[in-house]
C-alpha cells in the first residue's frame, strides 16, 4: 500500500504528518522523501545514511569528428537543447528533457549517451523507520525524474509513505501517480483552502481516493470544513495549534516524541486510511 502526503500549499505540515505517521507505524512501513527540492524528513528522523547513489539523466554527447552537421538532431529537439552552427554542434544540457530523439535520428552515430546529474538518492534508518530520500542537485531544474527514481526503490511489500512536494504541477503528480491514497494536509485559512481546492483537482485528475488532515485546526475559520462537507472529503485528523508542538518542531522534534499519546492518534489515522481505501474499492466494484 502506498500513501502520498501532499498539500498544494507549502508549510501546512506534510513532513510533520509523514514522519509522525511513519514513526507510529514503526518498521512495518518505509518513508520516501519525494520533496527532493527541499527534503526535510531526515531532520526529524535523523537517520544514519547507509547508502547513496548519484542519479543522472540522459543528455547527448556529440562527436564532431563523426558529425556531418545534417541538423537532424536540432530539428527533432523541441526543447532547443541542441543547435548546429556551421561546423559546430552546441548542446545545452540544462535544457535537455532526455527524450533521446537526437540519439535516434543521428544518421552518423555521432551522438552517444552522456549524463547530467539530477541529484542523489540516499538510504537510511532513523527513529525506527526506513527512509529513502531524493536530494535534487542545487541548480537542477527538473525534479520529476529524480522523484520517479526514489519511488522505483520503494519496497512495496511494506506500507510506503510518500512525503510529496508542495504545489500542483509535474513534481507533485510524479509523487502521487499510481498511489493507493492521497492524504492532503491543509490549514483552515483562505490560502489553505484555495490551495487545497487545487490539490483536490489534481488528485481527482489522477482518480485516487483522498482524505484530509487539518493542521493548526483552531487557527482560522470554518471554510475548509464547509468545503470538505460539500465535496464529501473525509477529515481524518485534526491537529490543534500548540506552541509546544511548534517549538518542538523548530528543534527537529516530532509530535510523538513530545507527546507520546499522539502515536495512538496516528495509528488510528492509518486505520481510517485503510477503511477509506476499502470503501473506494467497493465503490468502484459497484459501478
Amino acid at each position: 500500500m502506498i500513501i502520498s502526503i501532499a498539500s498544494g500549499k507549502g508549510g501546512t505540515g506534510k513532513t510533520t504528518v509523514a514522519t509522525n505517521l511513519a514513526v507510529s507505524l514503526g518498521d512495518s512501513c518505509m518513508l520516501l522523501d519525494c520533496d527532493v527540492e527541499e527534503p526535510n524528513a531526515h531532520l526529524f528522523l535523523q537517520p544514519q545514511i547507509e547508502k547513496s547513489e548519484t542519479v543522472a539523466t540522459f543528455i547527448p554527447i556529440v562527436d564532431e569528428g563523426l558529425c556531418t552537421f545534417c541538423r537532424k538532431c536540432a530539428d527533432i529537439c523541441r526543447f532547443r537543447a541542441i543547435a548546429v552552427l556551421g561546423k559546430k554542434v552546441l548542446v545545452f544540457p540544462e535544457l535537455c528533457h532526455s527524450c533521446g530523439g537526437c540519439l535516434v535520428v543521428c544518421p552518423d552515430k555521432a551522438i552517444t549517451a552522456g549524463g547530467r546529474e539530477l541529484g542523489v538518492v540516499e538510504w537510511g534508518q532513523g527513529a525506527g523507520v526506513a527512509l529513502i530520500q531524493g536530494r535534487l542537485r542545487v541548480g537542477e531544474a527538473m525534479s520529476p525524474p529524480l522523484i520517479k527514481k526514489v519511488r522505483a526503490y520503494a519496497d512495496t511489500r511494506r506500507t510506503v509513505i510518500i512525503d510529496a512536494p508542495p504545489g500542483t504541477s509535474c513534481p507533485v503528480i510524479a509523487a502521487m501517480r499510481g498511489v493507493n491514497f492521497v492524504l492532503l494536509v491543509t490549514e483552515p485559512t483562505p490560502f489553505g483552502l484555495h490551495d487545497l481546492q487545487l490539490a483536490v483537482e489534481a488528485v481527482r485528475l489522477l482518480d485516487i481516493p483522498c482524505g484530509l488532515v487539518i493542521n493548526r485546526c483552531d487557527m482560522g475559520d470554518d471554510q475548509v470544513r464547509d468545503y470538505a462537507r460539500q465535496e464529501r472529503l473525509p477529515i481524518l485528523l485534526e491537529i490543534p495549534f500548540d506552541r509546544k508542538i511548534a517549538e518542538a518542531y523548530s528543534r527537529g522534534r516530532m509530535i510523538v516524541e513530545e507527546m507520546p499519546e499522539w502515536q495512538e492518534k496516528f495509528r488510528e489515522l492509518f486505520g481510517q486510511i485503510k477503511l477509506e481505501i476499502l470503501a473506494d474499492i467497493w465503490r468502484r466494484e459497484r459501478q
Binding site: 527533432i76 535534487l136 508542495p166 489522477l206
Partner: protein
C-alpha cells in the same frame, strides 16, 4: 527598474503575507505573483482583471487509431512510458518531446499545442499586478514564470514605475530558477526551524549560481530565538544582510481571513512596526541600491 523577489526554500513561511504587506509600504510598484502553481496573493489583493491571456505551453502527442498500424515503434521510442498497449497516449505522462510524432512511419500521431494556463494583468488597491494560473498537473511552470516576469517588466516601464515586488514559489526547482534570474535582490523569508535553516541554505546556494544578492527576514522569530540567531549567523557568514525579525502573531491569519494584509488590518501594532523595519532594511540595503539609488 529594480525587482525584489521574495523566496524561502521551504513553503508556508509567510512569503505571500509579507509580499502583500511590503506592497503597502512600497510606492510606485508593480506586483508579480510568480508562485504560479499555487498562487495566493490575489486572495489578499482582490485584483480586478483588466486583461486575460491564454498561456500556450508545449504540445502533446495524440495517436489517430485509424491511421495507426500498431507497429510499436512509438512505444519503443517513448522514454516517458506515455503510450499504452492500446496506443493511447497518457496526456499527463507525455513530455511533449514529439519524437513519436516525427518518427511514426504511418504519420498517425498529431501534436496539438496545449493551453497550459492563463495569465492576467490586473489593478489592485496597492498597484498593478501580474499573476497567472498554471493548469493542474502541467509542466512549463518555469516558462509561465518567465512570461509573467517579463510582462511585469513591461508594465513597470509603460507606467513609469520603479519597482517590481515578486512573490516567488517555494523550493529550488524549475519555477524558482525562473523567478530569480536577473532579480535585483532576493528576500528570504525563513522561519527559525531546522527545516527553515536547511532549506534556506539550499536557496542561498541556488542564488549564488545566479549571482543574486540575498537578504534575510526571519518570520515568527520568537518561536525559537536560538535558531533565529543561528539563521542570522549563517546570513553573516554568507555576507547577507539580516533585515528584520517578525514576531509570531495570529494576526497574520486574522488579516488573511478578511482579505487584508497585516498593515491594513492593524496599522499600529507590533507586527506593523516589525514589517516597516524589515522593509526599510530591504529598500535601503546596498543590494537594492547597487546603482546608487537611495530610499524611495
Amino acid at each position: 527598474m529594480r525587482e525584489l523577489v521574495i523566496v524561502s526554500g521551504k513553503g508556508g513561511t509567510g512569503k505571500t503575507s509579507l509580499t502583500a504587506a511590503f506592497a503597502s509600504l512600497a510606492k510606485e510598484n508593480v506586483l508579480c505573483d510568480a508562485d504560479v502553481d499555487a498562487a495566493d496573493l490575489h486572495l489578499l489583493l482582490q485584483p480586478e482583471i483588466r486583461r486575460r491571456t491564454d498561456f500556450m505551453g508545449g504540445s502533446k502527442a495524440v495517436i489517430d487509431l485509424k491511421r495507426c498500424t500498431s507497429c510499436g515503434l512509438c512505444r519503443d521510442l517513448c522514454r516517458f512510458e506515455a503510450i499504452d498497449a492500446e496506443y493511447k497516449v497518457d496526456g499527463i505522462a507525455c513530455e511533449g518531446c514529439g519524437v513519436c510524432v516525427d518518427l511514426c512511419p504511418a504519420q498517425a500521431i498529431d501534436f496539438p499545442i496545449q493551453k497550459c494556463g492563463e495569465w492576467f494583468i490586473s489593478e489592485t488597491r496597492l498597484g498593478p499586478m501580474v499573476h497567472a494560473r498554471l493548469g493542474i498537473g502541467e509542466e512549463n511552470s518555469g516558462k509561465l514564470v518567465s512570461c509573467i516576469r517579463q510582462e511585469a517588466r513591461k508594465l513597470v516601464e509603460e507606467q513609469g514605475l520603479e519597482l517590481i515586488i515578486t512573490d516567488g514559489p517555494p523550493g529550488i526547482g524549475c519555477p524558482v530558477i525562473a523567478s530569480i534570474g536577473g532579480a535585483t535582490a532576493l528576500v528570504l523569508v525563513v522561519e527559525p526551524t531546522v527545516s527553515g535553516l536547511h532549506d534556506m541554505i539550499r536557496v542561498i546556494d541556488l542564488a549564488g549560481h545566479f549571482k543574486a544578492p540575498c537578504l534575510l527576514c526571519v518570520n515568527k522569530f520568537d518561536l525559537n530565538i536560538e535558531m533565529t540567531e543561528q539563521l542570522e549567523e549563517v546570513a553573516r557568514q554568507r555576507k547577507m544582510r539580516a533585515v528584520g525579525r517578525i514576531p509570531f502573531d495570529p494576526m497574520f491569519t486574522k488579516a488573511m481571513i478578511v482579505g487584508k494584509n497585516v498593515l491594513e488590518y492593524k496599522k499600529d501594532s507590533q507586527i506593523a512596526r516589525a514589517v516597516q523595519e524589515a522593509w526599510d532594511g530591504i529598500i535601503n540595503s546596498p543590494a537594492m541600491n547597487s546603482y546608487g539609488i537611495r530610499s524611495m
